[in-house]
Amino acid sequence: MTRKLVTVTAGLSNPSSTRLLADRLTAAAEEALADRGEKAEVRVVELRDVAHDVMNAMTTRVPTGELPGILEDVAGADGIIAVTPVFNASYSGLFKSFFDIVEPGVLDGKPVLVAATGGSPRHSLVLEHALRPMFSYTRSVVVPTGVYAASEDWGAGGNGGRELSERVARAARQLALLATENAPAAAEDPYEEPTPFADLMSGLGA
């Protein structure tokens, strides 16, 4: 069966190392799904392209441009790959803003692979102190392996980037497992199935 993946990447330059990592994770996830006999349908979202729309939604809640379609795909995804550059020792503001406008409940139970890029390995714990708590708050199922890539991981380090490749493959396998085993997102739609009035009034004076 076909599993839907949405990769959200918050890199700003073109090409960016964040997008590079996002592409590697996406390809690895497709491969890992194929190993499990599953097809993948992938959408890669460059947040820079919708940066103004994200701010529009932030300031007035009105989703403009491509944003409504992107939010719909996020809601319908079997798995999400979320990649941010590290700015000021945390995720970028654009990355945070995007996930701030995702409606509450949408990420509940959704497998998320967290990844980040930075100029220095000293920020690698950003995955643990910033990204993982944020996605825990949204009740996502965060993949055990997070992937952080510093400049030296791209091949300049002692082992030619092999460790990064291994982490990418491991994280992708874990995401594929969760995306496959998780029942396809069937979030309850309160606009389709409202709580009946009698239940709403339960415990209240009538």
């Binding site: 009105v62 403009t64 409202p194 709580t195 004076g205 009538a206």
Partner: protein, 366 residues
């Protein structure tokens, strides 16, 4: 079909002159706007209720009573009455009094209020917003329908042998709309009672508005008040018009760009594309408004937001002339021609009085 205006009562600096009206000027301007609404043939004037600056409308029945004394036809309403932080006993009394003074030209729209700090000023907690709206309205509904009420609930002191006075005019409680922009619980509540449901869609794409209205219509039918397309629906709208479309855009842009609610967000063009805001010629407003019917079905009440964002009174009055002379007459004709016979108009005091005494009191709460 009813056409009217609703005001949020904001005191906002006019960005083109830098001048801010005083509270007194704004209050008097709202009254003039209401009188103008009647003069140009609109059906409804509704005022918001707010208890924090920069808004002045903290006391809706005082203002509406003053307007009632100077008008003859227009229905006086609210947008919204805070069913969460007002004591339902006081709402029952105040609006029944207003109903008598206005000769029945009164209805209300219930709303919760979305500003957290306001709640504790009135002894409440925003986290209880939905339960407050449910319990308080349930009590209000009874106070207008039962001469003597014994009641005990979660949020206010119990009532023993309480009679809310004055009793509603002709024993016909004011018609109630429930306003909500995103809560399915409120659509469910409106459907349960067979009351009206108002979606202030001015900040929302049609896809969202449609979900809530469909839910309300479906549940209205479920609770036995009629077919889904007979449910009583109201919609918001905001427009700025000049004969020439480009003139409207040019004149309105500084107000849009600087208004507290839009400024720094989407461009005027993006906002008009994604939401009901229409800035252009009267014909564009007509086309856009007729489009609401295509999206949401035949509906009963259309309220426009006209006096906001620091627009000067003179401009607002000009806008009302355009609305009354060029837009509403066409809309009345077009909507009437398209509406099937079985779809009702919005209830008024007269229509409710006429149907009173019929065997089924389908709004009775058991």
């Amino acid at each position: 079909m009813q056409f009217g205006i609703f005001s949020v009562s904001d005191v906002t600096t006019d960005p083109t002159t830098g001048r801010t009206p005083t509270e007194g000027e704004r209050i008097k301007a709202m009254v003039q706007i209401a009188l103008k609404a009647e003069e140009v043939g609109l059906d409804v004037f509704a005022t918001g209720e707010h208890h924090n600056p920069p808004f002045v409308a903290s006391s809706p029945t005082t203002m509406l009573g003053y307007i009632a004394a100077q008008t003859e036809k227009i229905i006086l309403s609210t947008s919204t009455t805070l069913i969460t932080t007002n004591d339902p006993v006081k709402i029952a009394e105040d609006y029944a009094m207003l109903q008598h003074l206005a000769g029945g030209r009164v209805d209300l729209m219930m709303g919760r209020g979305n500003t957290g700090p306001v709640y504790p000023w009135f002894g409440q907690d925003i986290r209880q917003g939905i339960p407050l709206a449910l319990e308080n309205y349930n009590l209000l509904h009874r106070l207008w329908r039962e001469d003597v009420v014994n009641w005990e609930g979660k949020f206010r002191t119990p009532l023993q042998g309480f009679t809310s006075t004055p009793r509603p005019l002709d024993d016909v409680p004011p018609f109630v709309w429930h306003g909500s922009i995103r809560s399915p619980e409120i659509a469910e509540q409106a459907a349960y009672y067979g009351d009206g449901f108002f979606h202030n869609n001015i900040f929302w794409p049609a896809t969202h508005t449609k979900k809530l209205i469909s839910l309300y219509r479906r549940r209205f039918e479920h609770y036995g008040h009629g077919k889904a397309d007979q449910a009583i629906v109201g919609l918001g709208g905001q427009v700025f018009m000049r004969k020439n479309s480009q003139d409207a855009v040019k004149e309105f842009r500084p107000y849009f760009d600087n208004a507290p609610v839009y400024g720094g967000g989407p461009s005027l063009e993006e906002f008009t594309r994604e939401t009901p805001l229409t800035v252009g010629s009267p014909q564009e407003v007509i086309d856009r408004t007729l489009g609401f019917r295509e999206s949401f079905g035949d509906y009963q009440r259309q309220l426009f937001l006209m006096d906001h964002a620091g627009l000067p009174l003179k401009t607002v009055l000009e806008q009302l002339d355009l609305l009354g002379e060029e837009v509403v007459p066409v809309l009345r004709r077009e909507f009437a021609a398209k509406k099937p016979a079985h779809v009702p108009d919005a209830p008024t005091h007269d229509s409710l009085l006429a149907t009173k005494g019929s065997a089924t009191t389908d709004t009775e709460v058991q």
